[in-house]
Symmetry: C2
Subunit: 699 residues, 2 copies
Amino acid sequence: MVSSIENISKNITDIYKEEHKESYAAWLQYKNIENNELANEYKQWCSSLNVLGNSLVIESAKKELSLGISSMLGIQPELNSEPKQSGLVLAAGNSIDNLVDADFGQLNEDGYIIKTVTTDESNRIFLVGKTESGVLYAAFHLLRLLQEGKNLQKLDIVENPKNQLRMLNQWDNMDGGIERGYAGNSIFYKDNQFSDELNRIEDYARLLSSVGINGISINNVNVHQVETNLITSDLLPKVAEVAGIFRAYGITTFLSVNYASTIQIGNLSTADPLDPEVKQWWKDKAEEIYSYIPDFGGFLVKADSEHRPGPFTYGRNHAEGANMLAEALQPFNGIVLWRCFVYNCLQDWRDRSTDRARAAYDHFKPLDGQFHSNVILQIKNGPMDFQVREGVSPLFGAMENTNQMLEFQVTQEYTGQQRHLCYLVPQWKEILDFDTYAKGKGSEVKKVVDGSLFQYKYSGITAVSNIGNDYNWTGHTLAQANLYGFGRLTWNPDLSAETITDEWIAQTFGQDELINELVSKMLLESWSIYEKYTSPLGVGWMVNPHHHYGPNVDGYEYDVWGTYHFADWKGIGVDRTVKTGTGYSSQYFKENADMYENLETCPDELLLFFHHVPYTHTLKSGVTVIQHIYNTHFEGVEEAQGLIEAWSQLKDKIDSERYEDVLARLQEQANHSMKWRDIINTYFNRKSGIKDEQNRKIY
Amino acid sequence: MVSSIENISKNITDIYKEEHKESYAAWLQYKNIENNELANEYKQWCSSLNVLGNSLVIESAKKELSLGISSMLGIQPELNSEPKQSGLVLAAGNSIDNLVDADFGQLNEDGYIIKTVTTDESNRIFLVGKTESGVLYAAFHLLRLLQEGKNLQKLDIVENPKNQLRMLNQWDNMDGGIERGYAGNSIFYKDNQFSDELNRIEDYARLLSSVGINGISINNVNVHQVETNLITSDLLPKVAEVAGIFRAYGITTFLSVNYASTIQIGNLSTADPLDPEVKQWWKDKAEEIYSYIPDFGGFLVKADSEHRPGPFTYGRNHAEGANMLAEALQPFNGIVLWRCFVYNCLQDWRDRSTDRARAAYDHFKPLDGQFHSNVILQIKNGPMDFQVREGVSPLFGAMENTNQMLEFQVTQEYTGQQRHLCYLVPQWKEILDFDTYAKGKGSEVKKVVDGSLFQYKYSGITAVSNIGNDYNWTGHTLAQANLYGFGRLTWNPDLSAETITDEWIAQTFGQDELINELVSKMLLESWSIYEKYTSPLGVGWMVNPHHHYGPNVDGYEYDVWGTYHFADWKGIGVDRTVKTGTGYSSQYFKENADMYENLETCPDELLLFFHHVPYTHTLKSGVTVIQHIYNTHFEGVEEAQGLIEAWSQLKDKIDSERYEDVLARLQEQANHSMKWRDIINTYFNRKSGIKDEQNRKIY
């Protein structure tokens, strides 16, 4: 503990770095390598750091390598600005070494080469990027290899990110709160001002860059009064300062904007996208923004969604709405990220024909081809809203002529709010690997959003961040793995969940067989465990309204949000078939439409998302729906308790802070899982009158 | 409309008085009497105002009479300080006139005589009180007679309030908000300070005094941080100023206090009622308070209830807790109003043996006789919490040796929040007339709380107020009738609902047969209408959590508040019988215990409060429970629509502001009643699978 006198000149971030070292460092632990043999070998490669050229981003690479090397190996590398015959050689652009140059042609914009070249005269590892960002990514890659204890003798790596845009969305408000934030308050804002703790933002940039993130939107998509002013001269200098921090890590800054800015801060009486004054205002505004931030990314827009303003007010469609902003940004190469989360949020539950799941497709599909080339539609992974399980949005692949981007939610709004362990990489993998059949077999979502299927000009993957100013960033220490995994998957959706998990564990907790075995199992099973004791069979939404934490089967059943399960004494589920339901299933391409339409082929885990069935309906698994509900809820609790047992075996292997923090959350989860189990089981037992075959305790 | 320049020096209250004259005046309209004959007759009596003696309260009587007479009759009465031979004669104490003196012995503390005495030489109406308060009450009574157009020739009235304490509790917070307030913000506080608009408080005092209220607690029973300081020298001068306003209208001021004040503002480390320092602190505090307010009423205390501090923390019981405060107040004749709303608010829904309805009785009954004589237990009318229908609290009559007071809720928390019309006088009448059998037949609740059954030293009726700073005081204009009716009933619980209603209508809207007929019907049927489309058969609680507005059948079903209905596919209700349930029914005296215990004798309207029965159970009314649910919900909506039809007939008879305000609320009510109907019917239809016999639309 440092004394309070010493603390006076330190900000909280500094204190966290000292007093919560491991929690704060996340996967950039850079622990001293205790294996002498390995350390000595690494020292040979790392004692000299030869950096060709200089730039802000390469400077970051140098800084990070110096930090990592000194921390892991206890040496300060010698710094040179020319390619010495031994050590690490960093360079952006080609013409470094013939052997390396040979691979250079394979690189895309952010790609890099890591290559060990040993000759009689030289022993070097080249870290070469097509651009300076590639160099930084290569540096983080090398540091990862060191943390994983990998052999460096024969490195021959060519890495290219599969996705062009690899983004995060902060849902931070300037009052310091974070919408759907479960890890403290904002690291960006406090009391309606920007935070002074820029070192915290820089550390966030390091974490993001280390997993390949290259874009960030720094304010909530729900742009309130104060945040509307982020694009004014009052706040742009501060935005520019933050953008400067991210820039050094190859990350482009975006802002969420209020579609009614022209009214709210522009002294106009309209926000009609076809109004010449509105157009001009945004053009001038774009020019102003770029005068502060020359490489500003563009605007993220939530329009006509959940009471936010938008083009509908003026009888304009969303292409007209987005294009107006796109024209303003075009001269500066800025882009518009236009969210597709548009639905009727004042639905009448009595109206069973309206189906929120249809909304994004119904709104946007007809507009295919009408959007400017610098607009990207940002589509949530599912058609409802980040449930623990739902169908994949049928909009993916449905718009050949419109840039598309996938939006995940790293923050665990519906998946345990970082009080429960729920590792989402397996879920994201399923979604990315989902075959849309847009151009026949092999048209997976990942190929839509990496732009390859339809040759999109812009595309990629984005997500709502899960970090806050808690000392461990994510509330639940193990939720750091979600941020890590998201970054790695956006870089390369073909990485297996196991690979990503192993990487993360080694960097976060060190190389230890038992840690790897147990934590990997815990993480990889956690989504399934969470799903078991919460909403069954893809029906979703059985949560407390508003905050979305904890069970409430009827919480949304008679509300306006279009989120129903229609459970009665006989059965449950939403009929989204063409034959008898809302017709949502037809929004998929034929192969999927047929699969979901038919009870026989619809997968169990999405059964209630597509069909209303009796409780006595027998699943493919062989049990009835009601018995499945009971079984999974009892199992889920047991498995949640199992997480505690697994983690407890690691008591002596993990620093006490992280050990205790995780243990406390796992205990809370196990307790809360019982609440889930009992409420869900009791609800359905009371409703169906059907007993548990195994006669377990249902209240 | 007054211009904005004129408004500068006026406060909002002044503006309301001008621009919302009728809405603001409530039942003190004092409309010009257009019947010339009547006006001339009244002028004879009212042209001279002879006031014997002077005091603050008699001054108020004089002021009110002058205002009323000038407003209704267009004359300024001549003021004399001796009993002239004609006109009104006001006096406190006897020896005014032999004829009047003869009745004087019948008066209790706040009682009064109104007597017309005509001889050859004189024509006088005497308004004589035992105390100055009585004079004021007599003045308001006379003004009521004028507003009702009554003949004054042979008045011979002796009025005594049945209840000694006739109080209101404001649940106002100093930030200006009102807990469970549905008529704007506080008239007492704003921005954590006292309001400047003392004239608004005075007008409130006039309204209260006009119906006989003689005590008021001016801050929320949940005493938060800022309000804890109301008993400090920082705020006591302001409290004293407000107390001065009420004093002039015969109303004593009380404060709600924080039981942990010794810790929060007293620099002590405990609030243990047996700790000598704690005792001394409160004694000193009482002395300090009385130095500012010599006639301060005392403390209202919510202790150990819903997370408020209390004696339980220190292992002390509530008698010990209350007595400590009572000792501090004793030297100054102050009293402690100790609330009995004490229950486990962190209950586990899985625990079916704990019954919130039992809590007050279980906590307090064993303490009978242990409370000091200046403590009064303040008991909510029902054992749960102000539901639209519940049993009467069995604590009434159960404590022979402990002062008891009844607490009603004028603010419509669970009865439509002043958006729905729900006139509560009929409900209160039922409760007051409920026979406890405490001392055999004829032991009605009203006789318990008027002190006559057990000769309590202190007793009475209190209620949570329904007013705020809306221009019509109560949000819903017709909700003014609840405040009026509450006051009148506390004065005399034997008044019929019809009488009170007629009085209120005549004073509020004038004497008109159609108005009287329709508004009376609307008011008197409104509780029944509201009950029909909300929770059936006394089960209660089917409301949205926290704010308690609108239907949500399972809203509290799996929560911690002890408020469940246990509906399953087969039946519904809370088994509170001794035989198979929680045993709550045994808390009543035998006659009632037997009645409620047995399904055959338990009244329909409380069936589900006492029994869990199948949906197919046949009620005394001849229909099944499920069919009753359907029938009443369809009927309730029709009747709510009927309210609009009735009111619409009065379009030309009522000023447009009040007409339109009420109409808008009735329309909102009718719409919202459909929401209630459909959610409740659908819920039970889905759960039971039983069809409506009449095949009406259930979603």
